[in-house]
Amino acid sequence: MARVVVVTSGKGGVGKTTTTAAIGAALAQGGQKVVVVDFDVGLRNLDLIMGAERRVVFDLVNVVQGDAKLAQALVRDKRIETLSLLPASQTRDKDALSAEGVSRVIEELKEKFDWVICDSPAGIEKGAQLAMLHADTAVVVTNPEVSSVRDSDRIIGLLDSKTIRATKGEKVEKHLLITRYDLGRATRGEMLKTEDVIEILSIPLLGIIPESEEVLRASNLGSPVTLSNPDSAPARAYFDAVRRLKGETVAMSVPGEKKGLFGRLFGRRVA
């Protein structure tokens, strides 16, 4: 049975699209059939991050409105055979999507793929609500700062009230993914502590992705970071997160902790 995952946050710029691409690619690298769907109609980005922008012909709006068949709009990844992209339209806005049309598209995608990963637009309006509507699982992307945490809290409230699962009295499985975690700023006390973020949002932690040049480089290359540099710290953190998403138990590592001398010694002794 296909799993529908929404990557959401409320706030913009926290790393939803990067995360969608990285998680989608990591799942596909493990042999799963994956489609990543860009719901950010009017401000599409996922195609750029996936390096597929020059091959987009039809998009989500065309399929929702019945102007194109799903198979025509899907862009298959050139590097991983089991990974596909359903791009958003850049020339339209969120009102071009209808709940019925989106339902039809998601149902069709669920037949073809193991994982349907929906990249939500920022905000709490129609676009974000349509992106989360069919979700079984939500990855709530949060930066360790107060504004991002509060917006994530708002989104969790919507996940518990506006999704199809919620209206049926079922729960959407929610996971917290902390991104742009900066060790330097964390040690200087300039960021919220991880345990404070978890305490405020009270949902289970899926992973902590360190702030890294590698993520920026991957975006500019048009390649998910798990693909462009699988050994980098952010890529490893995403791989771990994906294993947890699949239900495996993986020990949580805080990025950069082993960099210090004490950390190295301590880490070795424990290992």
């Binding site: 809290d153 969790i156 409230g157 405020i200």
Partner: protein, 215 residues
Amino acid sequence: MAVLLAPEPPLDAWLVALDAQIARSPAFFEGKPVVLDLTGLPRENPGLAPLIGELRRRNIRLIGTEGAAANWGVAETAGLPALAGAGQGIALAPVSTPAKPPPEPEPRSLLIDSPVRSGQTVAFPEGDVIIVGSVASGAEVIAGGSIHVYGTLRGRAVAGSAGNAKARIFCRKMEAELIAIDGLYRTADDMDRALRGRAVQAWLAGEVMMMAVLD
């Protein structure tokens, strides 16, 4: 125990009076067997069948009749059995004057077993609100009575919203943006910094809001 209902003509007016009583105390007939006292009805054409329909529509559970005329058949009594003296001693006085004043509304509370998220409002003017979890920054809890938060209170808590100066606010960890009791409020800036992060209760002493650490 059974309740005795004594309909009187004109039945339309009697039903209006009955509805008024049900509106005053909606739970009055709940689960109670009801016996119809037919002595007040005309001996010819009592009009019972439509009346019984009306009563059943109001979820009144009829179990029998009293005082039916000897010559009435099934057509007149609509098949309800005659119960001699079934409702004796506990007869409901004429419906227009209730036998007893409507019971005091029961004390009510609302229990919420999950965190209250940013942007959500919990409003319960009828009584106390108990939250097992935290109230997020940007969330709002409004209660007619007191508010109990078994978690961190980061948002707003408005107690005694319907004008109850005795209402209080309790929380396990005080980080509130604003608290108010009976219209008197205090923002985070005006709170004693020593209370931050502590288990706190807030109450009114006359026109002054008091706040103190609980433990």
